[in-house]
Amino acid sequence: MRDINEYGQYSEAWCPGCGNFDILKALKQTLAELDIAPYQAAIVSGIGQAAKVPHYITANGFNGLHGRALSSAQAIKIINPELTVIATSGDGCTYGEGGNHFLAAIRRNVDMVALVHDNQVYGLTKGQASPTTKEGQITKAQPFGVTNAPFNPVEVAIAMRANFVARSFSGNVPHLVETLKAAIAHPGFALVDVFQPCVSFNKVNTFGWYKKRCYELGEDYDSTNWNAAIQKANELDEQIPIGVLYTNNRPAYGGHLAKKLVYPIGTGEVDSAAFESVVKKYS
């Protein structure tokens, strides 16, 4: 257990009451409890309110492009498997702009965590509908109500048999910490979709709304049961289960990589003898 102050104190530019504060707190606490030093973690993000996390934590950080956090994060882990890699970004970033990368990341199964701040709205661009906004919800950009069917990230990840799929709620920090710890411990790609109230733009899915609905999965829940997981993923109305919905054991990316790799890849010298024998193949 490390002192949580090692991860720094910054002045965050989030609205008072925003769910992002608790996600950041849970992230720091998770790293502290797992004894992961700031230099051993890489926090990767895209663009959005949630994506500012790398600026509010002392750790290695890569704040890249909207929708592309997963791409960069996977490569960081491939190059340096010693790092604990966590991509932390919004629902718009991960499932909207980054949708294709989200699907590919599940298939590639790099050992990392995607921590999605799911406020069911676009925060930074001022409240338009996101892929997870409910059908019919009224926003400034969708004054007649959202007509697109909502994307259920957890169900999609389970359908694709992702290695680890969980849902949590920023208003339940201890639960989020436990979930994140399990996600980091589980090999392969782990999705942690976190309900996060956006106090400025989402007047439907408020703290109270989530608080009333979210219930923790019991000890007897079997996360290896795919059918049960799909069913739980679809409980989204009056009762919403939070916890580890699904786990799978596909080997994580990397097992097949060349034996000769020196980690972190790139730090070794160019093997000139090997190079010369490569060139000979063209004679």
């Binding site: 230099y39 950080g61 592309r68 190059i79 890849i265 790139g266 490569v278």
Partner: protein, 562 residues
């Protein structure tokens, strides 16, 4: 000027194996000591259509296709009609005895008699060609033994038997084709194409990560890396799209691996946002942009130099970048190396501008001169602990110390926004200005390192031919032929196209009576750039945009066309 300059065109439908014959023959000739330059012309389909493999044999290096042929090897009837009129006076057509003879000088091969198995038609073709060119049988024999060794001794012997029967049959036809003069054989020489050469250069410079989404003619750079990934410890990942490719490369680069992404125009278009990211984040990355006629996507398997300005200006906002355009296959190696080296040194995106012509063209080389390559700059891999590390520390040359996350106890923050020295987002006016000034300093540092253009010819020419990248071979050949005719022609060739240092070449422009810019595009993109930078007029533009590579004949014809 070379004393030997012979061209063979092997033509037919895709899937008939003409590329195999062309490649094997090129390899044999390379080992036999000839200078080889071969180009591939293919249609965007896997079977059928009309393809050709053009092989130029010389005693001096040639860097472009010839305009006419001495031998046409026709795999089908179409090939005879399509290419006969480009045959030199006294040239020979070699074809199957099942096809109609169309030229006085024909060699008609009875494929059925020379091998009972139609699978070996390629070997018959190869044998006949080698024999008519006067190549010792030991050369193709050796190559076939190597090529089929993994398939077992029986297959090797079958191939050699077919080869022998082709040689024996050819004796009676040796008067139809003049034999090549003997060269000093050199088995160590290599045969590579432009994309092989780029990939090898990049590996020599320490590239360790490549992500790609397949797109011709860029993909074969990735394929070359894949072929050697195990020996060289390179990770190559085929990804979901070009956006992922470059964002992954930037992640890999951040984590410490020199990274490369190959693509073509459409893929590059998708990468532009991340090129800006690499610029502002100061993350090294090499993008190989293999041009072909676009947009979206024109003639997918043909060539063009249409993306010059796009490669220089693609991306939003302001940031330093470097664009290199190798002109020969040998230079592809050097530039593959240099691109990595520049990217690592200046911590910025480097674009390597090649094209279908150069990517696929094969050339014989005296292997690579590894000692001429400079040292590649590397990030700080040490694990010492400075009191406070700042990724974007302000320095006199604009280049900040780059450390690698996870090595040592400092943390590294890379960021896409306006940031302070640590990397944290800022909206502060003064900080924004310091960071922009830092970029300007970096740009100045890069300008001090510009690769000067090459100049050939009289210092006061009547005509100065200006070119960049892959057209240099054809342009120099055009100039040589005019000089032979007593004209005062000089050539100026650029292998770095951005940034440029005007002081390196403005005098060449000033000293010429007439300036002619030759490019494989319609708009005269480089001429436009030069005029803008120097305010010197370019009197004539020679353009080619029909998807075919520039040749000396084409250029000379256009030079005197009104």
């Amino acid at each position: 000027m070379p004393t030997l300059d012979r061209t063979i065109i092997i033509a037919g439908a895709a899937g008939q194996g003409l590329v195999t014959v062309g490649e094997l023959l090129s390899k044999i000739l390379t080992r036999a000591g000839y200078e080889i330059f071969a180009t591939q012309h293919y249609m965007s389909r896997i079977r059928g259509g009309h393809n050709s493999f053009r092989l130029r044999i010389s005693d001096l290096p040639r860097y472009a296709s010839a305009d006419n042929y001495d031998i046409l090897f026709a795999f089908d009837q179409d090939a005879t009609t399509l290419h006969s009129d480009m045959l030199h006076e006294g040239g020979t057509i070699i074809l199957s005895d099942k096809l109609d003879a169309v030229h006085k000088q024909c060699v008609r091969i009875p494929f059925d008699k020379l091998s009972s198995n139609p699978r070996y038609e390629n070997i018959v073709a190869l044998g006949v060609l080698c024999s008519l060119l006067g190549l010792e049988r030991a050369l193709p024999e050796q190559l076939l033994s190597e090529r089929f060794a993994s398939k077992g001794e029986e297959i090797v012997q079958e191939n050699i038997a077919v080869l022998t029967s082709a040689y024996e049959w050819s004796v009676a036809h040796s008067d139809k084709c003049s034999q090549l003069p003997k060269m000093y054989a050199h088995p160590e020489r290599i045969l590579v194409n432009g994309n092989n050469s780029i990939a090898l250069g990049a590996m020599a410079a320490g590239v360790k990560f490549c992500a790609f989404y397949p797109m011709t003619p860029g993909s074969s750079v990735a394929q070359t890396l894949i072929n050697h990934s195990e020996e060289m410890g390179v990770v190559v990942e085929q990804v979901e799209d070009e956006i992922a490719a470059i964002n992954m490369a930037l992640g890999a680069s951040y984590a410490g691996a020199a990274s490369l992404v190959p693509t073509s125009g459409g893929g590059f278009a998708l990468m532009t946002e991340a090129i800006s990211l690499a610029g502002v984040m100061e993350q090294p990355v090499v993008i190989v942009l293999a041009q072909r006629p676009g947009p979206a996507t024109g003639l997918p398997t043909r060539t063009e130099q249409g993306d010059l300005l796009f490669s220089m200006f693609g991306g939003h906002g302001e940031f330093p970048r470097i664009v290199l355009a190798p002109s020969t296959i040998e230079e592809c190696f050097e530039m593959g190396h240099r691109a990595v080296s520049f990217a690592e040194r200046y911590q910025t995106p480097v674009i390597l501008l090649t094209d279908q012509f150069l990517a696929d063209a094969l050339q014989s080389l005296e292997t690579y001169d590894l000692h001429s390559l400079g040292q590649v700059h590397r990030p700080d891999y040490s694990d010492t602990e400075p009191a406070s590390y700042q990724r974007y520390a302000l320095t006199p040359d604009g280049i900040s110390p780059r450390r690698i996350p996870g090595i040592g106890k400092t943390t590294v923050l890379a960021d896409s926004h306006a940031h302070n020295e640590r990397g944290n987002i800022t909206e502060d006016k003064a900080l924004r200005n310091s960071m922009v000034k830092k970029m300007l300093l970096k740009e100045s540092s890069i300008r001090k390192d510009v690769i000067p253009p090459r100049y050939y010819g009289n210092s006061k020419p009547d005509k100065l031919l200006i070119c960049w990248g892959s057209s240099e071979g054809a342009v120099r050949e055009a100039a040589e032929s005019r000089i032979e005719h007593g004209e005062n022609v000089a050539v100026l060739c650029f292998s770095q196209v951005y940034p440029l240092d005007v002081t390196q070449f403005i005098h060449y422009l000033e000293n010429a009576k007439e300036r002619v810019c030759i490019e494989g595009n319609a708009f005269g993109q480089f001429a436009w750039l030069l005029k803008g930078l120097t305010c010197i007029p370019i009197e004539k533009n020679i353009s080619r945009y029909d998807g075919r590579p520039l040749t000396a004949g084409y250029i000379v014809h256009k030079m005197y066309e009104e």
